[in-house]
């Protein structure tokens, strides 16, 4: 490994040129254009002048958009927390399972991840809508309850379906549904490496299971928690499809606003500024993780 380029210059060039070229032309150039546009303005219908002004960023920090950015962060934060609460016991269960059960449980968690995001969101629409399965089951239960109440001479009002779709609840529910596997896998990876004898030792020394869990398992699983939080948080903040299909008019997230600027509103410079605000947030989160990692293991 780590051979200096020296005498294998030819191999180096053949291996390096195509991927680097591709990355530059079809990835870095497009992103740079967006970045440049974020400092520009619409001159007329077809031309954007990049004149280095910060008006777009100022525009993005007005109360309306600041509110949407705040909402995106709040939804993503809540989603991450819920995924952590639901996912941690699942990851613990997988890491303590026998080899065969473990393989099956991992497959169970991964399989939805291999299913199309759009289809999973659509499946939730069918479950949550007013005439969906949840309301059908609730309505059925209500009918039974009403029948029992009628026997006792009481009258119950007719069942009104719950509004579960097209609101903020549906967005967070959908995000948790979509992101859960991303949380479980890093948690599992960290827990699986954990030295079992540490738990046994703390149990032998008189700790309760919950005590051992809180004082030994959780601290040792921290790197997994941090990367789980990161891989859940970043896609959640930038989620487009979930708020678009499951949310109502007021549950717009930042990605929906960006899409609108590039399609319906046709204000590319402003959309570019919003995109890059999202990128800056992503980089900040990753830098924070790198920083936390360095503080944990000073080398």
């Amino acid at each position: 490994m780590d051979e200096p380029v020296g005498r294998s210059r030819g191999v180096f060039a053949i291996l390096g040129a195509p991927p680097v070229l591709w990355l530059v032309v079809f990835f870095l150039v497009p992103l740079s254009i967006i970045w440049a546009y974020s400092f520009g303005q619409n001159v007329n219908l077809t031309r954007i002048a990049v004149d280095g002004n910060l008006a777009n960023y100022a525009h993005a920090l007005r109360p309306l958009y600041l509110g949407i950015i705040g909402k995106s962060l709040w939804f993503a934060g809540l989603t991450t927390l819920l995924c952590l609460i639901v996912g941690f016991p699942v990851a613990v269960a997988i890491s303590f399972a026998g080899p065969r059960t473990k393989a099956w449980l991992l497959l169970l968690v991964m399989l939805p991840f291999w299913t199309n995001l759009l289809i999973r969101t659509y499946a939730l629409m069918a479950v949550l809508r007013t005439e969906g399965y949840v309301n059908a089951i609730l309505g059925f239960g209500w009918k039974g309850l009403a029948a029992v109440a009628a026997l006792a001479g009481l009258h119950m009002p007719a069942f009104t379906p719950l509004e579960l779709l097209h609101n903020d609840f549906a967005v967070v529910f959908g995000l948790v549904y979509v992101q859960l596997p991303f949380m479980v896998l890093p948690l599992y990876a960290a827990l699986d490496r954990l030295d079992r004898s540490l738990i046994e030792a703390s149990l032998d020394l008189g700790s309760s299971h919950l005590g051992a869990f809180a004082k030994v398992v959780v601290p040792l699983a921290m790197p997994g928690v941090v990367s789980g939080v990161l891989v859940t948080l970043i896609p959640s903040v930038g989620a487009y499809l979930t708020p678009d299909l499951l949310g109502g008019p007021s549950s717009m997230m930042i990605a929906n606003v960006i899409e609108r600027q590039f399609k319906a509103a046709d204000d590319w410079p402003f959309g570019a500024a919003l995109s890059f605000l999202l990128m800056y947030m992503t980089f900040a989160a990753m830098a924070a993780q790198a920083f936390a990692g360095r503080r944990r293991s000073p080398t």
């Binding site: 390096g16 399989l111 199309n116 999973r120 659509y122 629409m125 590039f262």
Partner: protein, 284 residues
Amino acid sequence: MRAPPGPLDYLRRWPLRAWLAATAVFLYAPLITLMAFSFNDSKRNIVWRGFTLKYYALTFADADLIQAFVNSLTIALVSTVVSLVLGAMTALLLWRFRFPGKPALEGALGLPIVVPEICMGVAMLVFFTEVLPWPTEAPWPLNLGSIIISHISFSFSFVAVVVRGRLASFDRSLEEAARDLGAGEWRIFREVLVPHMQPGLIAGALLAFTLSLDDFVITFFTSGPDTTTFPIKVYSMVRFSVTPEVNAASTLLIVITVALTALALWLQGPGVTQTPQAGEGLLP
């Protein structure tokens, strides 16, 4: 009677079992009802009225949907092949050489993995309108070019990561032995390196294929009216309402993805369901 659970047999304690079961219901109930109701003989799609295959017949008769499906598969296939080649090259480059700018390249390669999809989507939209206007009226499959290029841009980094992980376990002495026995650069590559990389290549290809087939957001910004993919088509159907046709089409896609995943896992042989960081999964 079975032995009482040992101190660390957490999986045999009921609260954890109940939690697992509830999570499984949460993850699978929506998908299973979706698939089950694609066979339901009722337009309203909520009460079971008997088994039917008519929605599958409708799906197969829908020329637009079939075209979208063929487009999706074509895009996924081409982008997988190119991503595999580019990704493997990147992995070999980073694994073998020490060169100035290596950290920068590693950082740049990580970008497509972490950049929010929406940002990459709009970047590709602008690129393909301003810099490289793609002829969307070109004959099929050339009109899919802009989508394919975008998909390769985000997939090949993933392939590179997976293949590089596999290369880390390569025993350098094998290469030295081959060299001592007179094999040239190309022959070492073909007969020593590629066989070792194979599980990584399969895993990478599978990942690239699913990423491409699954992608909605980036395709949404790079596709035109004549170049819809399956997710884009389903999206336009879903916007209107929940219908059995969408259920049938979705079920087909779920079955295909699951079958492909199973095939790839089977091709890789036993041990791949264990995660790489456990170590065993990466060894032959």
